[in-house]
């Protein structure tokens, strides 16, 4: 399983440890501050979750440009809807749920040709290199080089197989197998039981095993 998420969350975790509070409690404290009028506290939440938000969106959308845009949108929606968050300690899963929902919506709109205008995207990103990639090719905006050990044919085959997975299976696979989030957190994000997460991951793996059988030893 990938440990990327652990690496990405290193800084925020370290911050939480330094504050002497569990991460969820620290989140709750920040959420309370925001709700009390300290909107700057939200900056800390952004910094804490921005890597994961972009990473999850990137896994679902295939390019960093769209991923950054969707993640920005998710943060804004989270800020607007913060008052409706029932358990402030669950900010992380709640935010990721927004990210995944927006990403799926974005995918659907892109598939039906109603992708958002470039102007909107440009508005987000006057920015770093990784932001400004063409969006036509799902992998075109890849900020990081693909694993060189995979042939282009194999990459395409894996990509197609993942793309064809039902949403729930793909989400479970992305969040658990690729992003390395704990099953419990994945279950919270997907609003289902841990058992169902395991089942969806299994179904995804089984499908991939069948689809990629000729590439497996």
């Amino acid at each position: 399983m990938s440990k990327q998420a652990d690496v990405q969350e290193l800084t925020p975790d370290a911050e939480a440890v330094a504050s002497g509070l569990p991460k969820a409690t620290r989140d709750a404290s920040l959420v309370s501050s925001v709700l009390a009028g300290d909107s700057a506290a939200f900056d800390q939440l952004v910094r804490r979750y921005q890597r994961r938000a972009v990473a999850v969106a990137y896994r679902l959308l295939g390019n960093s440009h769209d991923a950054a845009d969707v993640a920005q949108d998710a943060f804004l929606r989270a800020y607007r809807g913060l008052g409706g968050l029932e358990d402030a300690r669950r900010f992380g899963p709640w935010l990721m749920r927004i990210v995944t929902n927006l990403s799926l919506n974005f995918r659907r709109s892109r598939e039906t040709g109603v992708a958002r205008g470039a102007a909107v995207l440009d508005d987000v990103v006057e920015a770093p290199d990784g932001f400004r990639r063409p969006t036509g090719d799902p992998r075109a905006g890849e900020a990081s080089p693909p694993d060189a050990s995979l042939s282009s044919e194999l990459r395409e085959a894996v990509g197609r197989a993942v793309e064809r997975l039902p949403d729930k299976q793909r989400l479970a696979l992305v969040l658990y197998s690729i992003e390395g989030l704990p099953q419990k957190e994945v279950a919270e994000i997907l609003e289902c039981s841990v058992e169902l997460v395991k089942w969806n991951v299994f179904q995804a793996r089984k499908t991939l095993r069948k689809e990629l059988d000729r590439y497996l030893g």
Binding site: Q4, Q50, S64, L76, Y79, E142, A143, L150, K198, R205
Partner: protein, 192 residues
């Protein structure tokens, strides 16, 4: 799915959980025993593991962006939203007041305008001028600036005409008029 298929599915589910370290100790040992005894099962486990690794290799590392700029952009959007929200709040607060003020203003204007009359000019009077003989016009000083109606008694001849008093006076002074007529200026009721 038949019973054999069910068993295979269940076994494969166990393999998936085994990969994730989700099995309890007893189940893990039992599966390990089966794996040692069944090469096909072991091969299936290996393929699941390989498929998982393939997906991870395909996914690659997450994008690395300029996170400071990303956070700054998020703050900028949030500030934009806050500005919009403040304006909306003000609008929501003052919209009813503005509407009430507009209505009050409209009502006031309606009543004020309804009661307003232009500055009253002196009631216009017309003067009936009966012309009995044409050889004499008489001026009536009471005409003032009011319009005068000059009516000719010999209606069959000239009928009635309205003239500004000055004109009527001028006509009278000039002695213009039907012959053998006499103008009689009679003040009558106000014109309106």
């Amino acid at each position: 799915m038949d019973a054999a298929g069910d068993k295979t599915e269940q076994q494969e589910f166990l393999l998936s959980q085994y990969l994730d370290g989700d099995l309890d100790e007893a189940a893990r040992r039992e599966l390990q025993r089966q794996l040692e005894a069944d090469p096909k099962l072991a091969a299936r486990l290996e393929k699941l593991r390989q498929a998982d690794r393939l997906v991870q290799a395909w996914a690659g590392p997450a994008p690395e962006l300029d996170w400071d700029r990303f956070a700054a952009e998020a703050a900028r959007r949030r500030a934009g939203y806050e500005t919009w929200r403040r304006r909306s709040r003000i609008l929501r607060l003052y919209a009813p007041l503005s509407a009430a003020a507009a209505i009050a203003l409209a009502v006031t204007v309606y009543f004020v305008a309804g009661r307003w009359r232009p500055a009253e000019t002196p009631p216009e009077r017309f003067v009936s001028v009966s012309i009995q003989r044409a050889d004499a016009w008489r001026k009536d000083p009471s005409l003032g600036e009011a319009f005068a109606r000059v009516s000719f008694d010999r209606a069959a001849t000239l009928g009635t005409m309205e003239l500004p008093p000055a004109a009527a006076v001028a006509v009278a002074a000039a002695g213009v008029g039907p012959p053998a007529a006499e103008a009689v200026f009679e003040e009558t009721a106000p014109y309106f």
